[in-house]
Symmetry: C2
Subunit: 195 residues, 2 copies
Protein backbone atom coordinates (compact mmCIF):
# COMPACT_ATOMS: atom_id res chain seq x y z
CA UNK A 1 0.00 0.00 0.00
CA UNK A 2 1.75 3.10 -1.27
CA UNK A 3 0.28 5.42 1.38
CA UNK A 4 1.72 3.38 4.24
CA UNK A 5 5.08 2.79 2.51
CA UNK A 6 5.46 6.51 1.93
CA UNK A 7 4.57 7.25 5.52
CA UNK A 8 7.16 4.74 6.75
CA UNK A 9 9.79 6.35 4.51
CA UNK A 10 8.89 9.79 5.81
CA UNK A 11 8.27 9.19 9.52
CA UNK A 12 9.63 5.73 10.33
CA UNK A 13 12.97 5.53 12.10
CA UNK A 14 15.35 2.57 11.69
CA UNK A 15 16.62 2.24 15.25
CA UNK A 16 18.89 -0.74 14.78
CA UNK A 17 19.23 -3.95 12.81
CA UNK A 18 15.66 -5.21 12.67
CA UNK A 19 13.96 -2.47 14.68
CA UNK A 20 11.76 0.09 12.92
CA UNK A 21 10.11 2.76 15.02
CA UNK A 22 6.70 3.88 13.76
CA UNK A 23 5.49 5.37 17.01
CA UNK A 24 4.48 8.70 15.47
CA UNK A 25 1.63 7.20 13.45
CA UNK A 26 1.06 3.54 14.33
CA UNK A 27 1.77 2.39 17.86
CA UNK A 28 2.10 5.24 20.34
CA UNK A 29 0.54 8.14 18.49
CA UNK A 30 -2.09 6.78 16.08
CA UNK A 31 -2.93 8.55 12.83
CA UNK A 32 -6.63 7.82 12.67
CA UNK A 33 -6.92 8.94 9.02
CA UNK A 34 -4.13 6.60 7.93
CA UNK A 35 -5.58 3.62 9.80
CA UNK A 36 -8.97 4.35 8.29
CA UNK A 37 -7.42 4.15 4.81
CA UNK A 38 -5.71 0.92 5.80
CA UNK A 39 -9.08 -0.44 6.91
CA UNK A 40 -10.53 0.33 3.49
CA UNK A 41 -7.61 -1.49 1.87
CA UNK A 42 -8.07 -4.58 4.08
CA UNK A 43 -11.78 -4.56 3.16
CA UNK A 44 -10.77 -4.68 -0.51
CA UNK A 45 -8.18 -7.42 0.05
CA UNK A 46 -10.53 -9.61 2.14
CA UNK A 47 -13.72 -8.79 0.20
CA UNK A 48 -14.48 -12.48 -0.34
CA UNK A 49 -14.09 -13.53 3.30
CA UNK A 50 -17.25 -13.76 5.45
CA UNK A 51 -15.63 -11.97 8.41
CA UNK A 52 -17.85 -11.51 11.48
CA UNK A 53 -15.17 -10.85 14.12
CA UNK A 54 -11.82 -9.07 14.36
CA UNK A 55 -9.17 -10.52 16.69
CA UNK A 56 -6.05 -8.69 17.81
CA UNK A 57 -3.69 -8.57 20.77
CA UNK A 58 -3.09 -5.80 23.25
CA UNK A 59 -1.91 -3.17 23.23
CA UNK A 60 -0.88 -1.71 19.89
CA UNK A 61 -3.18 -3.86 17.77
CA UNK A 62 -6.36 -2.58 19.43
CA UNK A 63 -6.65 0.85 17.84
CA UNK A 64 -5.94 -0.50 14.38
CA UNK A 65 -8.43 -3.35 14.83
CA UNK A 66 -11.22 -1.01 15.99
CA UNK A 67 -10.77 1.32 13.03
CA UNK A 68 -10.47 -1.60 10.59
CA UNK A 69 -13.66 -3.17 12.03
CA UNK A 70 -15.69 -0.25 10.67
CA UNK A 71 -14.89 -1.51 7.17
CA UNK A 72 -16.20 -4.98 8.03
CA UNK A 73 -19.74 -3.99 8.95
CA UNK A 74 -18.69 -2.85 12.42
CA UNK A 75 -17.78 -6.42 13.36
CA UNK A 76 -16.96 -6.68 17.07
CA UNK A 77 -13.29 -6.58 18.03
CA UNK A 78 -11.84 -9.04 20.52
CA UNK A 79 -8.40 -8.35 21.88
CA UNK A 80 -6.31 -11.10 23.42
CA UNK A 81 -4.86 -10.11 26.77
CA UNK A 82 -1.34 -10.61 27.99
CA UNK A 83 -1.51 -12.20 31.41
CA UNK A 84 1.57 -13.08 33.38
CA UNK A 85 0.21 -16.37 34.69
CA UNK A 86 -2.44 -14.72 36.83
CA UNK A 87 -5.88 -16.15 37.58
CA UNK A 88 -6.47 -18.18 34.43
CA UNK A 89 -9.85 -19.51 35.51
CA UNK A 90 -10.59 -22.19 32.92
CA UNK A 91 -13.01 -19.91 31.15
CA UNK A 92 -10.19 -18.83 28.88
CA UNK A 93 -8.44 -20.06 25.79
CA UNK A 94 -4.77 -19.55 26.47
CA UNK A 95 -1.42 -19.96 24.81
CA UNK A 96 2.14 -18.79 25.32
CA UNK A 97 3.86 -16.19 23.17
CA UNK A 98 7.48 -15.10 23.18
CA UNK A 99 7.79 -11.36 22.74
CA UNK A 100 10.18 -10.37 19.99
CA UNK A 101 10.73 -6.95 21.57
CA UNK A 102 11.16 -8.04 25.19
CA UNK A 103 12.37 -11.63 24.87
CA UNK A 104 9.94 -12.59 27.63
CA UNK A 105 7.36 -15.37 27.41
CA UNK A 106 3.85 -14.52 28.52
CA UNK A 107 0.43 -16.11 28.59
CA UNK A 108 -2.11 -14.77 26.16
CA UNK A 109 -5.79 -15.32 26.86
CA UNK A 110 -9.18 -14.87 25.28
CA UNK A 111 -12.40 -15.53 27.14
CA UNK A 112 -14.28 -18.55 25.79
CA UNK A 113 -17.37 -16.33 25.60
CA UNK A 114 -15.93 -14.39 22.68
CA UNK A 115 -14.72 -17.04 20.23
CA UNK A 116 -16.84 -19.96 19.07
CA UNK A 117 -17.15 -22.36 16.12
CA UNK A 118 -19.60 -19.97 14.40
CA UNK A 119 -16.98 -17.21 14.19
CA UNK A 120 -15.15 -16.22 11.01
CA UNK A 121 -12.16 -14.30 12.23
CA UNK A 122 -9.91 -11.71 10.66
CA UNK A 123 -6.72 -11.39 12.72
CA UNK A 124 -5.25 -7.87 12.73
CA UNK A 125 -1.91 -6.70 14.13
CA UNK A 126 0.53 -3.86 13.65
CA UNK A 127 3.72 -5.89 13.12
CA UNK A 128 4.70 -9.32 11.85
CA UNK A 129 8.30 -10.39 12.45
CA UNK A 130 9.04 -14.04 13.25
CA UNK A 131 5.34 -14.77 13.60
CA UNK A 132 5.28 -15.81 17.27
CA UNK A 133 2.42 -13.50 18.22
CA UNK A 134 0.38 -14.46 15.16
CA UNK A 135 0.90 -18.16 15.68
CA UNK A 136 -0.39 -17.69 19.21
CA UNK A 137 -3.51 -15.89 17.98
CA UNK A 138 -4.11 -18.55 15.32
CA UNK A 139 -3.84 -21.21 18.02
CA UNK A 140 -6.48 -19.45 20.12
CA UNK A 141 -8.85 -19.26 17.14
CA UNK A 142 -8.34 -22.90 16.21
CA UNK A 143 -8.73 -24.02 19.83
CA UNK A 144 -12.16 -22.35 19.80
CA UNK A 145 -13.26 -24.08 16.62
CA UNK A 146 -13.62 -20.75 14.81
CA UNK A 147 -12.25 -20.18 11.30
CA UNK A 148 -9.27 -17.97 10.47
CA UNK A 149 -10.55 -16.14 7.40
CA UNK A 150 -7.47 -14.03 7.02
CA UNK A 151 -4.63 -12.15 8.63
CA UNK A 152 -4.14 -8.43 8.04
CA UNK A 153 -0.85 -6.84 9.06
CA UNK A 154 0.30 -3.24 8.83
CA UNK A 155 4.07 -3.80 8.63
CA UNK A 156 5.74 -7.15 7.89
CA UNK A 157 9.46 -7.62 8.35
CA UNK A 158 9.94 -9.75 5.26
CA UNK A 159 13.55 -10.54 6.18
CA UNK A 160 12.40 -12.45 9.28
CA UNK A 161 10.23 -14.83 7.20
CA UNK A 162 7.39 -15.35 9.72
CA UNK A 163 5.00 -14.18 6.99
CA UNK A 164 6.40 -16.48 4.33
CA UNK A 165 5.86 -19.48 6.60
CA UNK A 166 2.24 -18.51 7.25
CA UNK A 167 1.60 -18.12 3.51
CA UNK A 168 3.14 -21.54 2.87
CA UNK A 169 0.80 -22.99 5.48
CA UNK A 170 -2.08 -21.66 3.40
CA UNK A 171 -3.26 -18.68 5.43
CA UNK A 172 -4.58 -15.69 3.53
CA UNK A 173 -2.10 -13.14 4.85
CA UNK A 174 -2.03 -9.57 3.60
CA UNK A 175 0.60 -7.11 4.79
CA UNK A 176 0.20 -3.50 3.70
CA UNK A 177 3.96 -2.92 3.72
CA UNK A 178 6.64 -5.61 3.60
CA UNK A 179 10.16 -4.57 4.54
CA UNK A 180 12.86 -6.40 2.59
CA UNK A 181 15.72 -4.65 4.29
CA UNK A 182 16.53 -1.61 6.36
CA UNK A 183 19.77 0.12 7.15
CA UNK A 184 20.29 1.73 10.58
CA UNK A 185 23.24 3.76 9.26
CA UNK A 186 21.52 5.43 6.32
CA UNK A 187 17.94 5.01 7.60
CA UNK A 188 17.03 3.54 4.22
CA UNK A 189 14.15 1.06 4.00
CA UNK A 190 13.48 -1.17 1.01
CA UNK A 191 10.03 -2.66 0.42
CA UNK A 192 9.10 -5.90 -1.29
CA UNK A 193 7.48 -5.22 -4.67
CA UNK A 194 3.68 -5.46 -4.99
CA UNK A 195 3.07 -5.61 -1.27
Amino acid sequence: MKLLEERIKRDGVVKSEGVLKVDSFLNHQIDVNLIDEMGAEFARLFADAPVNKILTIEASGIGIACLVARHFGNAPVVFAKKAQSINLDGEMYSTKIQSFTHGRIFDVIVSKKFLSPEDHVLIIDDFLANGCALNGLIELVEESGATVEGIGIAVEKGFQHGGDKLREEGYHLESLAILESMDPNTGEVVFRENA
Copy 2:
Protein backbone atom coordinates in the same frame (compact mmCIF):
# COMPACT_ATOMS: atom_id res chain seq x y z
CA MET B 1 -26.40 8.08 28.09
CA LYS B 2 -29.38 5.74 28.02
CA LEU B 3 -27.87 3.40 25.40
CA LEU B 4 -24.83 2.64 27.56
CA GLU B 5 -26.86 2.37 30.80
CA GLU B 6 -29.21 -0.11 29.17
CA ARG B 7 -26.28 -2.12 27.84
CA ILE B 8 -24.71 -2.24 31.29
CA LYS B 9 -28.01 -3.43 32.80
CA ARG B 10 -28.32 -6.10 30.12
CA ASP B 11 -24.75 -7.36 29.72
CA GLY B 12 -22.74 -6.00 32.65
CA VAL B 13 -21.98 -8.39 35.50
CA VAL B 14 -21.51 -7.23 39.08
CA LYS B 15 -18.66 -9.50 40.15
CA SER B 16 -18.20 -8.23 43.70
CA GLU B 17 -18.43 -5.09 45.78
CA GLY B 18 -17.07 -2.42 43.45
CA VAL B 19 -16.24 -4.61 40.45
CA LEU B 20 -18.39 -4.43 37.32
CA LYS B 21 -17.49 -6.65 34.39
CA VAL B 22 -18.25 -5.14 30.98
CA ASP B 23 -15.92 -7.34 28.99
CA SER B 24 -18.54 -8.39 26.45
CA PHE B 25 -18.83 -4.90 24.95
CA LEU B 26 -16.22 -2.53 26.36
CA ASN B 27 -12.88 -3.95 27.38
CA HIS B 28 -12.21 -7.41 26.03
CA GLN B 29 -14.75 -7.72 23.27
CA ILE B 30 -15.51 -4.25 21.89
CA ASP B 31 -18.90 -3.36 20.41
CA VAL B 32 -17.77 -1.01 17.67
CA ASN B 33 -21.32 0.29 17.03
CA LEU B 34 -21.83 1.17 20.68
CA ILE B 35 -18.49 2.98 20.96
CA ASP B 36 -19.27 4.86 17.78
CA GLU B 37 -22.50 6.12 19.37
CA MET B 38 -20.54 7.04 22.48
CA GLY B 39 -18.13 9.02 20.29
CA ALA B 40 -21.04 10.99 18.85
CA GLU B 41 -22.27 11.74 22.36
CA PHE B 42 -18.82 12.95 23.49
CA ALA B 43 -18.69 15.18 20.40
CA ARG B 44 -21.99 16.74 21.50
CA LEU B 45 -20.85 17.13 25.12
CA PHE B 46 -17.48 18.67 24.19
CA ALA B 47 -18.72 20.65 21.16
CA ASP B 48 -17.24 23.90 22.50
CA ALA B 49 -13.76 22.50 23.19
CA PRO B 50 -11.05 23.00 20.52
CA VAL B 51 -9.80 19.41 20.80
CA ASN B 52 -6.88 18.51 18.51
CA LYS B 53 -5.61 15.38 20.28
CA ILE B 54 -7.07 12.42 22.16
CA LEU B 55 -5.06 10.94 25.04
CA THR B 56 -5.75 7.59 26.65
CA ILE B 57 -3.88 4.80 28.43
CA GLU B 58 -3.24 1.25 27.33
CA ALA B 59 -4.80 -1.14 26.95
CA SER B 60 -8.56 -0.87 27.22
CA GLY B 61 -8.76 2.87 26.52
CA ILE B 62 -7.20 2.58 23.07
CA GLY B 63 -10.08 1.16 21.08
CA ILE B 64 -12.56 3.60 22.58
CA ALA B 65 -10.22 6.55 21.96
CA CYS B 66 -9.67 5.62 18.30
CA LEU B 67 -13.39 5.33 17.60
CA VAL B 68 -14.14 8.54 19.53
CA ALA B 69 -11.40 10.39 17.60
CA ARG B 70 -13.43 10.03 14.40
CA HIS B 71 -16.00 12.40 15.94
CA PHE B 72 -13.31 14.99 16.62
CA GLY B 73 -12.12 15.49 13.06
CA ASN B 74 -9.99 12.35 13.16
CA ALA B 75 -7.71 13.91 15.77
CA PRO B 76 -4.65 11.73 16.40
CA VAL B 77 -4.79 9.42 19.40
CA VAL B 78 -1.86 9.14 21.80
CA PHE B 79 -1.88 6.30 24.26
CA ALA B 80 0.22 6.41 27.41
CA LYS B 81 2.21 3.25 27.93
CA LYS B 82 2.61 1.27 31.09
CA ALA B 83 6.32 0.64 31.57
CA GLN B 84 7.67 -1.29 34.49
CA SER B 85 10.69 0.96 34.99
CA ILE B 86 12.30 -0.09 31.73
CA ASN B 87 14.41 2.17 29.53
CA LEU B 88 12.89 5.55 30.32
CA ASP B 89 15.26 7.53 28.14
CA GLY B 90 14.54 11.13 29.12
CA GLU B 91 12.55 11.65 25.98
CA MET B 92 9.44 10.75 27.92
CA TYR B 93 6.99 12.43 30.24
CA SER B 94 6.44 9.97 33.03
CA THR B 95 4.41 9.55 36.17
CA LYS B 96 3.41 6.76 38.52
CA ILE B 97 -0.06 5.28 38.72
CA GLN B 98 -1.45 2.79 41.19
CA SER B 99 -3.69 0.26 39.48
CA PHE B 100 -7.09 -0.11 41.14
CA THR B 101 -7.51 -3.60 39.69
CA HIS B 102 -4.06 -4.98 40.42
CA GLY B 103 -2.91 -2.87 43.38
CA ARG B 104 0.49 -2.51 41.67
CA ILE B 105 2.26 0.77 41.00
CA PHE B 106 3.66 1.26 37.51
CA ASP B 107 5.31 3.96 35.47
CA VAL B 108 3.24 5.54 32.75
CA ILE B 109 4.99 7.29 29.90
CA VAL B 110 4.27 9.45 26.89
CA SER B 111 6.94 10.43 24.40
CA LYS B 112 7.68 14.17 24.51
CA LYS B 113 7.23 14.18 20.73
CA PHE B 114 3.49 13.68 21.06
CA LEU B 115 2.39 16.28 23.62
CA SER B 116 3.32 19.94 23.43
CA PRO B 117 2.01 23.35 24.61
CA GLU B 118 0.03 23.73 21.38
CA ASP B 119 -2.08 20.67 22.12
CA HIS B 120 -5.69 20.79 23.31
CA VAL B 121 -6.30 17.39 24.76
CA LEU B 122 -9.41 15.33 25.38
CA ILE B 123 -8.61 12.49 27.79
CA ILE B 124 -10.63 9.32 27.18
CA ASP B 125 -10.81 6.19 29.31
CA ASP B 126 -13.16 3.29 29.87
CA PHE B 127 -13.43 3.47 33.68
CA LEU B 128 -13.11 6.09 36.40
CA ALA B 129 -12.99 4.80 39.97
CA ASN B 130 -10.78 6.59 42.50
CA GLY B 131 -9.21 8.68 39.74
CA CYS B 132 -5.59 7.49 40.05
CA ALA B 133 -5.18 6.73 36.35
CA LEU B 134 -6.83 9.99 35.29
CA ASN B 135 -4.75 12.06 37.68
CA GLY B 136 -1.66 10.47 36.13
CA LEU B 137 -2.80 11.34 32.62
CA ILE B 138 -3.65 14.92 33.66
CA GLU B 139 -0.16 15.20 35.17
CA LEU B 140 1.42 14.12 31.87
CA VAL B 141 -0.61 16.67 29.92
CA GLU B 142 0.20 19.48 32.33
CA GLU B 143 3.89 18.54 32.42
CA SER B 144 3.92 19.00 28.63
CA GLY B 145 2.31 22.44 28.78
CA ALA B 146 -0.70 21.23 26.82
CA THR B 147 -4.28 22.04 27.85
CA VAL B 148 -6.75 19.52 29.25
CA GLU B 149 -9.91 20.47 27.36
CA GLY B 150 -11.97 17.73 28.85
CA ILE B 151 -12.21 14.20 30.18
CA GLY B 152 -14.59 11.68 28.66
CA ILE B 153 -15.29 8.46 30.53
CA ALA B 154 -17.47 5.51 29.62
CA VAL B 155 -18.30 4.22 33.10
CA GLU B 156 -17.74 6.17 36.32
CA LYS B 157 -18.04 4.49 39.69
CA GLY B 158 -19.78 7.41 41.41
CA PHE B 159 -19.50 5.75 44.81
CA GLN B 160 -15.70 6.00 44.70
CA HIS B 161 -15.78 9.80 44.25
CA GLY B 162 -12.73 10.18 42.00
CA GLY B 163 -14.99 11.93 39.49
CA ASP B 164 -16.51 14.29 42.03
CA LYS B 165 -13.02 15.47 43.06
CA LEU B 166 -12.05 16.16 39.44
CA ARG B 167 -15.25 18.16 38.88
CA GLU B 168 -14.54 20.18 42.05
CA GLU B 169 -11.08 20.93 40.70
CA GLY B 170 -12.75 22.46 37.65
CA TYR B 171 -12.15 19.84 34.98
CA HIS B 172 -14.85 19.37 32.38
CA LEU B 173 -15.55 15.72 33.05
CA GLU B 174 -18.32 13.83 31.28
CA SER B 175 -19.13 10.23 32.12
CA LEU B 176 -21.66 8.46 29.95
CA ALA B 177 -22.84 6.26 32.81
CA ILE B 178 -22.32 6.95 36.52
CA LEU B 179 -22.90 4.05 38.88
CA GLU B 180 -24.33 5.09 42.24
CA SER B 181 -24.44 1.58 43.64
CA MET B 182 -24.33 -2.02 42.60
CA ASP B 183 -25.27 -5.19 44.39
CA PRO B 184 -23.26 -8.38 43.79
CA ASN B 185 -26.06 -10.50 45.28
CA THR B 186 -28.93 -9.32 43.10
CA GLY B 187 -26.77 -8.00 40.22
CA GLU B 188 -28.70 -4.72 40.40
CA VAL B 189 -26.99 -1.52 39.30
CA VAL B 190 -28.30 1.97 40.07
CA PHE B 191 -27.23 4.96 37.97
CA ARG B 192 -26.93 8.58 39.01
CA GLU B 193 -29.73 10.67 37.49
CA ASN B 194 -28.98 12.82 34.45
CA ALA B 195 -25.61 11.27 33.76
